[in-house]
Symmetry: C5
Subunit: 354 residues, 5 copies
């Protein structure tokens, strides 16, 4: 997970609208699938070529083109030409470092969102850009990898009794956005469990890598915040958008979507604060352990240093040292030693040092 990408830097000096793929190819060749449906019928074609995709008749049905893999500029360009998409949109589709956003181009609407997941070992975020362009009777969705993100939506379309099929492209766009935002809840759950595990670790037993784990979580939370923050603005913008492509019946669902985005954001905010606090707690805990160590050292040293001094005194070789000749001298020294250490232990106990 690189926080700071330099990929976009390669574009310095190129004209806007230049089609240049920015990002590593995540699938070997782009897979194009088409789903066409209306109230009565539904037809699916998987992995077809760009040409046959463009030859489909443009009748009064919703045509949903799914492109998996955006590193082949020719594919994107051909689709763009066929549907009359603005060059800036095509540029943004290829540039996988876009911020989530929505743009109103009157005859079509362009949406950029991120699909967010966590690798199975929980170490890295998996970020994939999803771009959606839709007009009155078509919707094209672009994603980076070959994994089918929208299986759930297709399953629902498959239900012939569902209301879904009778609704337009705006509802399909909403369904795709809703599915991506629902992912965020799942991610926040995974993230939350990681924080809870770390909390227990900090409170009980600190390992070598606890500090870098905390820092890693902080970093993840900052990136998530950066990625999800614009989603809120975006959905709020959709609600206010006057484009006729969005029908009133869809708007009530967008309000729901907005609520979900805000909910996720608030959870991230709480996470960020908790992790920051966790670092302070870690520092306090480290300080406590230093205290523990110092106390042991102090107790041992404080007790034995004076005792060693006494032993040292009677190890002196002075000719005239009256105590040395006393019969009970040696036992007297032992008595003194026991008395001194007893007093000290009492004193430490009172100060609650152990």
């Amino acid at each position: 997970m690189r926080t700071f990408s330099t990929k976009q830097a390669n574009k310095v000096g190129l004209p806007p609208g230049t089609l240049l793929y920015v990002g590593a190819p995540k699938t070997e060749r782009p897979i194009i699938s088409v789903t066409r449906y209306n109230g009565d019928i539904m037809e699916e074609r998987e992995d077809i070529g760009v040409e046959s995709c463009c030859e489909l008749p443009g009748e009064a049905a919703v045509t949903w083109v799914r492109v998996q893999g955006v590193h082949d500029m020719a594919v994107v360009e051909a689709l763009g030409r066929h549907y009359g998409v603005h060059p800036l949109i095509l540029e943004d589709i290829l540039n996988t470092e876009q911020r989530p956003k929505i743009e109103d181009y009157e005859d079509c609407v362009f949406i950029v969102l991120k699909s967010l997941g966590m690798e199975p070992d929980g170490d890295k975020l998996v970020i994939e850009q999803v771009s959606i362009v839709f007009g009155s009777n078509y919707l094209i969705s672009f994603q980076e990898s070959g994994e089918d993100l929208f299986r759930g939506v297709r399953r629902r379309l498959g239900n012939p009794k569902g209301r879904f099929r009778r609704l337009g492209t705006d509802y399909l766009a909403y369904a795709l956005m809703d599915l991506l935002v629902d992912q965020y809840f799942h991610l926040m759950g995974v993230f939350g469990r990681q924080i809870e595990e770390l909390e227990e670790e900090v409170m009980s037993e600190i390992a070598q890598d606890t500090l870098s784990k905390i820092y890693g979580l902080k970093r993840k939370s900052l990136i998530l915040h950066k990625l999800i923050w614009p989603v809120r603005d975006m959905v709020s913008e959709v609600q206010r958008m006057e484009n006729e492509l969005f029908q009133d019946s869809t708007r009530v669902y967008l309000r729901d979507l907005y609520d979900h985005a805000v909910h996720t954001l608030e959870t991230i905010e709480v996470s960020r604060e908790l992790i920051s606090e966790l670092l302070s707690v870690y520092l306090s805990a480290a300080s406590n352990r230093l205290n523990e160590v110092m106390k042991v050292l102090t107790i041992i040293a404080t007790i034995f240093i004076p005792l060693s001094f006494i032993a040292g005194i009677y190890g002196m070789n002075f000719k005239y040292m009256p105590e040395l000749d006393w019969k009970w001298g040696y036992f007297g020294v032992w008595t003194l030693i026991v008395a001194i250490s007893g007093t000290m232990l009492y004193f430490f106990k009172k100060r609650r040092w152990f």
Copy 2:
């Protein structure tokens, strides 16, 4: 108290409006009670079935249906069908992870709020979602547990001389919200006492678990903030809402409710800052205690290390050591020891080390 819930994650890919209960069942079976009243009469039926509930005549009275336990989808669905409630509302009622919100559906108004309490031992927050739907002559309130949250409101309705009975469903909705928000004051009081106890603990005697107590309070304050923050916006939205279900006579009460929500939020803000500060104070206090320990060690070591050195000198076995043969040599060493330790004690006293 889990901060991050993954329950909602199960819904990824399901169509919006799908009725799926999200949350653990808090009561064995839903209890449905109905209160019907107008200016003249009031009638209560406790724990009736959904069918008999729907068969009540819809005359010109206020019908208040209370559902305790929302894990039985059939009950929610039946009521929804009977009163013509939008599917998105029913979905939100079942999803107990909702943010507090208010939604205007023209013929009805939908309100989500949280009932907040603290477990008797003060360790965990008890969070329960309350959903309220009301139209011109009915109000349905849903809560998760079997505990009767709205006893206070029913008691007031029981007063035949009260103005309450002559007012509409909007005032009943207000009364329910007001009761929940009043709970927050109680909670903030409990929370405040916990902070005060912790303050005293940090200032005087730090226990093993003080640090995790501070962190726990911080966590609670973040969750409370997250839960109460939307209430402010929500009440502010009610005031601006143009829905005719809210009468002018009720709006003046809503202003009062808004004030209460803001008051609670400000108290939480103060709590959050105090707890953050408390962590710093804890760190300072820990540092102070380390200082204390170090001073004792330093005083003991600094006094006895030189003295032991002197004893060591005269423990050497050199053939020719003139002091050893002096008659007052031994007593001279004692004099030296007393002088050195006296000087040091004076020096430490001056530096205010003890």
Copy 3:
């Protein structure tokens, strides 16, 4: 000074508009005084009963009723009934935990403000709620304690040549608010001096209770912020209010009041940041002192530990130790000791350890 009050919690479940005094009685029985004035005359009656207060003729003069002590519900209710005050206002007057606010009830305006002071020993804030209701020809001010807060305003009214007497109730309300806000400046002065004393303490000599003093100031600053913050919004709201009770000639004075409130708030903000910084400085200073202590320990130990080792060597009882029989052995050891300690002292001096 309790930050978190649970008093309001007792009201859970009571209908809004229920008159219930929330707060400890601060005076034995309410004292009611009335001042009536217009351009020509002024008449004062101190400590009269509620009945005689209500029997005063309502001619074209300003009637200012001052109630000191709001724990007697009967008094508040009687006045409310006489002047036709809305039940929610009366409830708010009795609830001394209100946020500062202003409410427009068309025929009257309701203002809640706090009188803020510091106890003579500077340890506790003295917070007293002042409620003001005024209509076109009357103004009632309620305060909690028996101390006369508004002596200054009455003195000014006493001046027969002043412009004050010829102005309406809105100007009187402004004068009362202005007097309370002017108090805040005085309080900020006292508060500022406390911070400055603490700064000197932290920078020079840290006492046992410095830490809890810093925390106490932080707490006070948070409470002051919470109490004064709404005053700004409130005054800003007065300026925008369209109620005809506020005349244009008074509005120019309200702008001045707004400036004062903002000024106080900014001073509190600076205080808060300074105190937070002070805690960091305290931590740094504590760390510095630990450094000092450690240096002394290190110097003493580092010098004497090797010397004691040398003495130990020549205290060994080996049969064959050639140095022991040397004539100048003893003096040689002393020379070694002086050389070692000299080198070390030079080394420490160079490292600027003392």
Copy 4:
């Protein structure tokens, strides 16, 4: 530099509009100078009395009255009466604790700004309040001290060919504000150099007073922020002001002034954050130094404590200790000592302790 002033506290209870000087007199007696000019002529009279100032003919020229020293209420009152200035303005002029602000009184505009400087030794801020009142043909500027702040503006007026003379009082007011804001850049330069010096001090050699220097800078930055923050709002308000006293040709210059104010504010923000970070760096550096000290102590103690133990063993007086009689026993002990200390030094070197 006192952060918190209690001067204003003396005004509690006085009517608004009461003329009472708040602040220490900074000049022995007020100096009044007048400059009158139009496109053709310019006439200057220095240090004249208030009476002669008021007797100047009010022809179609710009009359600029400069008052240096505002502690003589009679002077301010006389001028106020002559030019018909609102009592609230006069009160604000005398109160040198005002926030920077601009007020529109229809026939005149009132401006309060601060002149900010640094004492030559860089220790204290020199804050002086400048009040400006101007109508269509007069402008009165008040300052606290006897130093002529506006020399630069008078020099420019002295140029007979300049456009300045042909412009109105609004441009003169702008020129005065511009001169004061330009001062802020100078101040930020001085302030920035102080931060840079402190950075070097913290990074290299920490002195006794570094901590209090950091705190002092923090304090200065907070005060500067508090003083300059309102200037931004003020200039922004001027731009939106609809008063006809401001001509369109002047407005383009005000935009420039706004930019300068924002620039200064941003520099202060950066300073504040840098100083806060500096305190953390200081704490880290102190912790590093403690580390250094501890390492020396640990190396010395860790090496010599075991060695002394060995010497102690062979200093025991047991009858039967075979090693004591060995011929090479003594040299064997020395070999052991060298071996142990060598191993330890190697171990410390590997851990990079020195």
Copy 5:
């Protein structure tokens, strides 16, 4: 890289519109180049004099004048006079300490932006001010250094088939701004790698200068934030600007530019938070290392101090010490020593001290 510049301070007291170069000359003499183009032709003249530049015929083509080096006031003034540019614009061009901004002068638009780079060794930011003035048929760009910043734009103009040549000065201005903002992405990439290197350094091995590196990055991030923050407002202002010089076809590109500026800002925000967190992590890591050191000291001291005491005891010279005469006394002492140290090592192991 000086954070705080005092250059502008020299201007105190000068009239606005005074042409005074503020900044060090970065190139020996200004280089002026002109590019003229329309749909059909394109003509370039490099390094020509100001006079010949002004003599170019003003026909219906776009004339782009590039000035490299702004320290020669005569050049700027001559160009300004030729194109009728407002004196305040000329003053701002010479003052290289301007904030990024856009100003609408009706017949022309004035833009200030910063070109931001990093020195090859990554230690210092290279900041260069770029000013752009354009009217309906001319655009003048000013930069400080002799390096040609706009090579990329000229290359695109060189393409005779490109759409670029057929567009107006507004698109050229956009192209220049776009190129500068694209630089920021490159810079953020370099900056991000520096943070990542530092992260690894803090987590693994801390060097002498790690602390000052962290502080340096923090400083850089604050300066970048200060410089890029106004760009966002600026681009947002362009979009709302009603000046007819901006055509609708260009506005869609400006939206893209806005997105880029926001993206950069968000990356800086993340950087700032990461660096702040890094300082805390550094402090924790330093504390951990102190802990390590203390543990070694404690283990050594805690084991040997009691052992040395035992040796001391039997080094005493008392006449009557029964153990000394025991045959197995010496070996008994060794057994005791091994037993004690074994117990302690077990105890430390259990506490996980090593």
